[in-house]
């Protein structure tokens, strides 16, 4: 694996985002990503798509889109700043299966983006449930303050644990963990 190039690793990135990578390939990819900013950025982009897909999955049971939804999304999408996509390396014939996977992922991400835009739209005034929510929270910041959770859970206790890190330890990694990755909910391995 030592003679692998970035484009080879980027195909592995696609596999590990789908949690289909393990063993020597995973170790090799970990080592490469730790030192290659380009591949790291590529991995971040793929995770974003993956997150959009999860968001779409979570939104599915909510309700049907309102009339005019498609046109609204199209206009909103046109107004949004474009995300810079890192070009995927040209794949030789033997790797077409991976390319198909990638194209499928992009297509799925586009669908996810529509759901995401729709959910975002639901937060705007004009939508009855949202108006109730805004009415509850539109007061000045001081008036919005509410107390912490009234039940213990690993989420809230991890948050409390992490927030103590700053100023308490030399490195404060727990705070970065909490800020950067804990909420992503990715399963951890030992």
């Amino acid at each position: 694996m030592s003679d692998m190039r970035c484009e080879d690793y980027r195909e592995l990135v696609s596999a590990f985002v789908d949690e289909r990578l393990d063993g020597a390939e995973l170790l090799s990819l970990e080592a490469h990503i730790a030192t290659c900013p380009g591949c790291r950025a590529f991995e971040v982009e793929l995770h974003r798509f993956s997150g959009l897909l999860q968001a779409a999955e979570a939104l599915r049971p909510l309700r049907r889109p309102p009339p005019g939804f498609a046109a609204m999304v199209a206009s909103r999408a046109a107004a949004e700043p474009r995300t810079q996509i890192i070009p995927f390396p040209a794949a030789p014939a033997a790797r077409r299966a991976s390319r198909v996977t990638w194209l499928g992922l992009v297509a799925a991400a586009a669908v996810a983006a529509l759901f995401f835009a729709w959910s975002w739209q639901r937060l705007l005034p004009g939508d009855l449930p949202t108006q109730r929510r805004i009415a509850r929270t539109a007061a000045p910041v001081a008036g919005q303050a509410v107390a912490a959770a009234d039940e213990g859970s690993m989420d809230t206790w991890m948050h409390e644990h992490a927030m103590l890190a700053r100023g308490s330890t030399i490195l404060g990694p727990a705070e970065e963990i909490e800020f950067a990755s804990f909420r992503a909910g990715a399963p951890a391995e030992r």
């Binding site: 539109a138 039940e151 103590l164 030992r190």
Partner: protein
């Protein structure tokens, strides 16, 4: 490569080469230390969590200004963390909330000589060859736990001129495998920063959840506030000491948090009158016996948790220790009245 074995030699070696401010530690003690405060800087930081199924890479921008002002942004999620000198504000877009709390100290990204000195009780410290990080001259310091396999090993790259931590590598307690990497990829000192960057603009419709100042309490005061008897561990790994007890009460719910530290790692013991399992913990999470109770492991990346039901409360222990040490600490938790006298001392 120079390896040192004696704490005093290690301290002098490590801090003298790494921190200009710490030079006076060896010369005259902490009272004469100048403050370690890097000038304003702007940078881009990458954090790689290798404990996840496939490394999880997070990129964030960081702005910092003396006086405890800091702003971090996660472009991928639009999350924002701001320290405005008095409060910490954390915007969680996916939850639609901003968490506000009193700011708990500054200098989280600076190697503090006092903390370094404390860590020497639990870690072998040595200086190893350095390299440039984001164009800055650095010195790398390695912290290897004296109690091998009990807690993570860490490598810290420190900016020679400012004391800023440029890169951190944390190797897991279980396998001594790289578990956590945090590194500045870009760094610029002395940029002109807009003061508005350090003020949180709460987006419309977002809920602000504010928590107040929580002083450290004595066990008896914590019991009165939370309405819970306080349990403490009879066993702590070498170098760990109790730092603080916090207590909270909201309507019928009471909670106590006891915090222990060794200078590098934190350990939190929580107890609450009620506890809600995470949805993803009800199925595959592994179980463990804690005393006579059935407990559960929670893998939270570098941090591991154990939750169990004690006779007096729902309990959880969170920390970066090995599973064996976590289990040993959890299994030794007793009500304060049952503890040996040595354990009751703060």
């Amino acid at each position: 490569m120079h390896t040192c074995r004696r704490p005093v030699v290690c301290l002098v070696l490590a801090v003298l080469v790494a921190l200009p401010a710490a030079r006076s530690l060896a010369q005259g003690g902490e009272a004469h230390l100048p403050s370690v405060a890097p000038p304003a800087y702007r940078g881009r930081k990458v954090v790689v969590d290798f404990t996840r199924r496939g490394p999880q890479v997070t990129s964030m921008s960081v702005l910092s200004q003396p006086g405890g002002l800091e702003r971090r942004e996660l472009p991928a999620t639009h999350g924002v963390l701001i320290f405005d000198g008095e409060s910490a504000w954390q915007y969680l877009p996916e939850r639609g909330v901003v968490l506000k709390r009193p700011s708990r100290g500054d200098g989280g990204e600076v190697l503090q000589p006092g903390q370094l000195q404390r860590a020497l009780a639990s870690y072998e410290v040595r200086a190893v060859p350095s390299e440039r990080i984001a164009g800055r001259r650095s010195q790398v310091i390695e912290f290897s736990p004296r109690q091998a396999g009990s807690r993570p090993r860490r490598l810290v790259w420190v900016d020679v001129e400012t004391g800023l931590i440029l890169r951190t590598e944390i190797y897991g307690a279980e396998k001594d495998r790289l578990s956590w990497l945090s590194v500045f990829e870009e760094l610029e000192f002395g940029p002109a920063l807009d003061a508005a960057a350090f003020r949180m603009q709460v987006p419309p419709g977002v809920l602000v959840v504010e928590s107040g100042e929580e002083p450290c309490l004595e066990p008896a005061a914590a019991e009165r506030l939370a309405g819970l008897p306080v349990g403490l561990p009879d066993y702590l790994p070498e170098g760990f000491a109790r730092q603080c007890i916090r207590a909270r009460r909201q309507r019928d719910y009471g909670e106590v948090q006891v915090v222990f530290g060794d200078g590098l790692s934190l350990l939190s013991l929580f107890e609450g009158t009620s506890f809600r399992e995470r949805a993803d913990d009800t199925g595959g999470a592994s179980t463990v016996a804690v005393g006579l109770s059935a407990g559960r492991w929670h893998e939270l990346g570098l941090v591991t948790g154990i939750s169990w039901r004690a006779p007096w409360a729902h309990m959880a222990l969170l920390g970066e220790l090995s599973h064996a040490e976590m289990h040993k600490v959890a299994g030794s938790v007793r009500l304060q009245t049952e503890l040996s006298p040595a354990s009751r001392r703060p």
